[in-house]
């Protein structure tokens, strides 16, 4: 039985700050995350042809690692995290991932030994628990999935993460049909159940190998919503619906820490601004420096309480200023330098607020994730922290309330479409039962009928 969060780690929203967390995490070679300074976290993807063989892939990651470490030394960055998000070959063949981890860590150790740079290696295992037709969350691939974590941990990875997929088959169906109950069921109920299972096992591996059980992100669902919602003029999903999915995702991503993870949460988890005040764990975030991977509407704001500052992912290739990992790691490092100066000079809260205000009224998504509002979502979650369904529903309703208050203040302006979508989501939520068992049985029946790829046995149901 996991211990659920029923209170906030932070006494007030104003305590939230970049570079500081309630429970800092030591990792890798001399690094302590959330202990009073921020650190760049560089993320990359190999070029398409590199996945052809294990040797090619290892070579590609050696180049990536060497380039990044060299640039960090050349510009005098005191610390860096490298995050390797597995391509499928590395998780389906755990020895490939292990070979990459070993090669990367060997290079990082050389730089650490020679220059003293503080550094750590995060490996994010691919969620391979599926076949062509269905998610297979508890099937044969589960042991390969866990083996990938263990072998990477044994061979050099310092921090273990994943972007897990539980609930995605329902979410993908529901988000394209404005089905509020389906969004809640996919992320808040099924996603949470899967998270509780996998993060207990990942945390056991971390304990056994002396590594860090770092955390998850609802990339598969809340980021899908954000990505489909797109920019101001895109017409694919109301941004008010996307932020409700994000609020729900905080209740789901929290499950990792309840099952034994300690942070830092994954960069693309924009819900981390809600998770941090609840769990007190350090977090990674990405924003203006992840435009190489995707656009968002809160590029400055989301830096507000990060401990690691990331670029999400960039394909490795040459640019005018060096290879992409060199260019983007340098941008990240200068941002971190600015935040670290603010921390040292007592100006951190001012900088935080400037970052927040530059985006707070740009879009309802940024408005809700601004730390003062994110804190309120956290409170709504912990109010019924023991109940995965109710806390996710609370988060969604509080999210709607916050957006409405923003609109009433005159500062957050919505389109009529966004307003109508918000009203629909809120009405849908208010019509839902408070009985988790009833919600489960209603939605099991509904989605077994409507979503052919939904297999309840994936969730032990």
């Amino acid at each position: 039985m996991v211990k659920k969060y029923t209170s906030m780690a932070y006494a007030s929203a104003d305590e939230l700050l970049f570079g500081q967390s309630k429970f800092p995490v030591k990792a890798g070679l001399g690094l302590e995350i959330g202990a009073g300074y921020t650190t760049p976290e560089v993320n990359y993807a190999p070029r398409p042809h590199a996945g052809k063989s294990k040797d090619k892939l290892v070579k590609e990651y050696e180049r990536i690692t060497t380039d990044t470490m060299e640039r960090m030394i050349q510009i005098g960055a005191p610390s860096v995290v490298l995050e390797t998000e597995h391509v499928e070959q590395m998780s389906n063949n755990p020895e490939w991932g292990a070979a990459v981890a070993h090669a990367q860590k060997t290079i990082m150790e050389e730089f650490h030994d020679e220059y003293g740079i503080k550094c750590a290696l995060r490996h994010t295992i691919g969620d391979i628990r599926q076949d062509r037709e269905y998610l297979q969350l508890r099937g044969d691939q589960y042991s390969t999935f866990m083996e990938a974590f263990e072998l990477c941990a044994q061979n050099g990875a310092d921090m273990l993460s994943v972007e897990s997929m539980g609930g995605k088959e329902i979410f993908d169906y529901a988000i394209l049909r404005n089905d509020t109950a389906g969004i809640l069921f996919g992320i808040g109920v099924l996603g949470s159940m899967d998270m509780e299972m996998i993060w207990k096992d990942i945390s056991d591996i971390a304990k056994k190998t002396g590594t860090v059980s770092a955390g998850d992100t609802d990339c598969a669902q809340a980021n899908t919503a954000m990505f489909i919602a797109g920019g101001l003029l895109d017409k694919n999903l109301a941004h008010t619906t996307a932020i409700v999915a994000r609020a729900i995702s905080a209740a789901r991503s929290l499950c990792a820490y309840e099952a034994g993870a300690v942070g830092p949460g994954k960069d693309c988890g924009y819900e981390n601004s809600i998770v941090k005040p609840i769990a007190g764990v350090p977090i990674s975030q990405e924003g203006k420096t992840s435009t190489c991977a995707h656009s968002d509407l809160m590029g400055n704001l989301i830096m507000q309480c990060c401990d690691l500052w990331s670029n999400e992912s960039v394909e490795y290739h040459g640019e005018f200023g060096g290879t992409t990992v060199q260019c983007w790691s340098e941008s990240l490092a200068y941002d971190c330098s600015m935040m670290n100066v603010a921390l040292k000079t007592g100006k951190a809260k001012d900088l935080r607020d400037v970052l927040v205000l530059s985006d707070k009224f740009r879009d309802p998504q940024g408005y809700v994730l601004a730390y003062d509002n994110a804190y309120r979502i956290g409170q709504a979650i912990t109010k019924d922290g023991e109940n995965n369904y109710l806390r996710a529903k609370n988060a969604a309703i509080e999210c709607c309330n916050i957006v409405e208050e923003g609109v009433n203040s005159g500062k957050l302006r919505l389109t009529r479409f966004e307003t109508n979508a918000l009203a629909k989501v809120k009405a849908d939520l208010e019509a839902l039962t408070d009985d988790a068992d009833q919600f489960m049985s209603d939605n099991l029946a509904k989605f077994k009928q409507e979503v052919p790829v939904f297999r309840p046995e994936n969730y032990g149901l």
């Binding site: 929203a13 104003d14 993807a45 190999p46 070029r47 398409p48 042809h49 590199a50 996945g51 391509v87 499928e88 070959q89 599926q130 076949d131 062509r132 037709e133 993908d172 988000i175 394209l176 049909r177 404005n178 899908t224 990505f227 489909i228 101001l232 003029l233 017409k235 694919n236 999903l237 109301a238 394909e315 809260k349 001012d350 607020d353 400037v354 927040v356 205000l357 530059s358 985006d359 707070k360 009224f361 740009r362 730390y371 003062d372 005159g410 500062k411 302006r413 919505l414 389109t415 009529r416 479409f417």
Partner: protein
Amino acid sequence: MLDLKLEDIDGILVRYNVGLEKEMTPDEAAEELYPKDELIYPVAKAIYEGEEDDVVDALKAAIDAGKKPIDLIDDALMVGMGVVTQLYDDGIIFLPNVMMSADAMLAGIEFCKTQTTEVPEPKGKVVCHVAEGDVHDIGKNIVVALLRANGYDVVDLGRDVPVDEVITAVTNEKPIMLTGTALMTTTMYAFKEVNDKLLEKGIKVPFACGGGAVNQDFVSQYELGVYGEEAADAPKIADAIIAGTVDIPALREEFHKH
């Protein structure tokens, strides 16, 4: 915390979407586009509203009044879907409305098929797949729905589709277009293999590619590739092919935006 005065916000950001919003509500705009025929109107309206049961009820009423089921596919269901796609293209309604309308239209087509022995004539056939090694299929699902909504017969191969399976499907189905989506850089490399194997067989079908990590530069590297930045580009590329633009450079000229 620090705060901004209301009057200061406009100098920091502009909510262009609020400023540009159309005067007319979606329902009003749809009303202007519905066909006036009293038997067809309720079918088109039910398609717009995404109500599958209402679509079938309206079709039943039209058939009872003497309309031929096979004709209702083109004259009512496709017309209703045409209203929906026009409103989407004009930025008046959003994707979830289109998806729900597409579901309703497909339910309507299935119903019409049960009422006749005649076989409906699609605009053309398109084969869709997600690259080998890639299980992210929401983009492909949107493409499939939009193509079907526009009257195309879609052969959906699903996700993580082996290259040889794509080649076999294209060889057997002889589509006017193949689509491929991928989220990751390492999986999108399969598109090049698909391209090469199709060319080896002498098949020069336009291969529309898009998705998370896919970009125009990559797609331009293989002969059959046409880059689609948005899922909504897929039916537009298919329409251009049907209209006679089958030459890849000409399709690129029209659809490559960068």
